[in-house]
């Protein structure tokens, strides 16, 4: 019994990604949602489940009002930050498989130019209460400062280097430069990365993701319905979420080099019946460069500690063995809570990847990473 092959991502939609937008988050969510619904060949009134993403996500009521949905059968929120997108696909698949819903909309959108920055935002969230009480007063304010000790420990234990972090950053940038909806268009060299200013050691500016404005949305439907829908069918063949040990405190985590993904990934690969070697394209949640290296290890592409050398020699770039974040990721396309990773994976598997299309991509994965290391993973296949 698993959700493998039960459902498909039948619609994807994105706004233009930008910085300095004046449009409210709801407006961005509605635009992305309408695009995703149209992409699926559906009417907004066909949506019977809504799972909004993140603390900027508008409640389901807004979608009932704006879309004239007469009988919404389900709504809920998965509060695990950037892991929520894929976790919500898992929720949607469960609803579809059990017959509760036919077409579930997963909308996301935010405007960080008129809303709070990440550093201020997290301290209002209940899952950060230990951080807010015991760590914020020390000057541990932002996610960068909370996550950096994980990276430093990995460097000290395994010899991982900032130059290896640079390999992640320049791969994402190379893809963003080619992509038609990415914020960062200036090519980046290893030297550019090394010369970018230190934010919180070992993270330099170019190890950090963007703060972006925009919206992204998905429609999830049953695999059976998807067969006759508008787009090439992209099925979900493995999906899981995982929560790290000590999920509310990285400080107290027994092994801070492991994320929730280390629990989720083996389950997802088992459902899919494939191995990491079978993956043609990966969209890995890249809030920071090191987090990509850690997730590559946690998914079993290499052993723990070997992620640094793994990302060298252009392995993550188009033409490499594991083309990763073909849209530029959170580091160079936009920070859209990882929803942009799911959208990009679907696009790749449909063969709609444009200038960053991985030739012959048939099987791929996307990951999510939330809060203090929650993880999620979706393995998809064109079929």
């Amino acid at each position: 019994m698993s959700l493998s092959g039960k459902g498909a991502i039948t619609g994807i939609g994105e706004t233009v990604y930008a910085r300095g937008s004046t449009r409210p988050a709801l407006d961005l969510q509605i635009e992305a949602s309408l695009k995703a619904i149209e992409d699926a060949g559906l009417s907004p009134r066909d949506i019977d489940g809504v799972i909004p993403i993140g603390i900027t996500g508008a409640p389901a009521e807004e979608f009932i009002h704006n879309f004239g949905i007469e009988d919404l059968k389900f709504s809920a929120v998965n509060p695990i930050g950037g892991a929520s997108g894929i976790a919500s696909v898992q929720t949607a698949l469960s609803l579809i498989d059990s017959g509760v819903c036919n077409h579930v909309l997963i909308p996301a959108g935010r405007n960080t130019s008129i809303g709070a920055k990440a550093g201020a935002r997290i301290h209002t969230m209940p899952q950060f209460h230990y951080v807010t009480e015991f760590e914020l007063p020390l000057g541990a304010v932002s996610p960068a400062q909370l996550y950096a000790p994980m990276a430093r420990r990995h460097m000290e234990l395994f010899g991982t280097t900032s130059l290896q972090f640079a390999q992640v950053a320049i791969a994402m940038r190379a893809h963003a430069v080619l992509h038609d909806n990415a914020v960062m268009k200036k090519p980046m060299t290893v030297e550019d990365h090394q010369n970018s200013r230190m934010i919180t050691d070992p993270y330099r500016l170019f190890d950090c993701s963007l703060e972006s404005d925009g919206g992204a949305a998905l429609v999830v439907s049953s695999a059976e319905r998807a067969r006759d829908m508008k787009q090439p069918r992209v099925q979900v063949i493995g999906i899981a979420e995982g929560h790290p040990d000590s999920p509310s405190s990285i400080t107290q985590r027994h092994d801070m080099t492991k994320l929730g993904l280390s629990k989720a990934a083996p389950r997802a690969f088992a459902q899919a019946g494939i191995k990491p070697d079978d993956i043609d394209v990966a969209e890995i949640y890249d809030c920071f460069t090191y987090q990509v290296i850690c997730q590559i290890e946690d998914m079993g592409f290499c052993k723990k500690g070997e992620g640094g050398p793994f990302v060298e020699n252009g392995r993550l770039q188009l033409g490499g063995a594991l083309p990763t974040n073909t849209h530029g990721g959170l580091l160079s396309q936009a920070h859209m809570l990882g929803m942009n990773h799911i959208v990009e994976l679907v696009r790749q598997l449909r063969g709609q990847g444009g200038r960053t299309q991985v030739a012959g991509a048939e099987v791929g994965l996307a990951t999510g990473y939330g809060d203090l290391g929650d993880g999620s993973i979706a393995i998809m296949a064109r079929a």
Binding site: L138, P149, M150, M256
Partner: protein, 136 residues
């Protein structure tokens, strides 16, 4: 610019004994009254035996460096004048960890396992800031 004050911890009934001890310069952590398991940060129930009875125990102060970051960018204006500063993840002899500032050491001397001792230093709000120093 630095008119903005540092964030003040919101003490709870659960955590008040920690802060009361900290204001006296003492690092205390919870200890299960039933099975003796120590824990930090404060929580309501023992993860080993699920007893809700607990007391507070003074730590020995013996501790070692687990990891760290060196802040070079102020994400909150009140910390700008202190840049760069070290945030240290520290293994307490008792088992749990603590996050604190680390002072009295150069960046190139930081390494996992470095022996440390602690003190509490009062900030502008009177918050006792857990501060580690090399033990040597």
């Amino acid at each position: 610019m630095t008119a903005e004050k540092k964030p003040v911890p919101h003490e709870t009934e659960l955590s008040k004994p920690y802060w009361d001890a900290a204001r006296q310069g003492v690092l205390k952590i919870q200890k299960c009254s039933n099975c003796g398991t120590v824990r930090h940060y404060p929580q309501l129930v023992c993860v080993e035996c699920y007893s809700r009875e607990y007391g507070w125990t003074e730590t020995s102060g013996k501790s070692t460096l687990h990891s760290w970051t060196i802040a070079h960018h102020a994400f909150h204006a009140a910390f700008r004048d202190e840049l760069p500063y070290i945030l240290a993840t520290v293994d307490l002899e008792e088992g749990p960890r603590a996050l604190g500032r680390l002072v009295g050491i150069e960046a190139q001397d930081l390494k996992i396992g470095l022996p440390l001792r602690y003190s509490f230093v009062s900030d502008e709000n009177g918050t006792p800031i857990l501060t580690f120093h090399p033990a040597g």
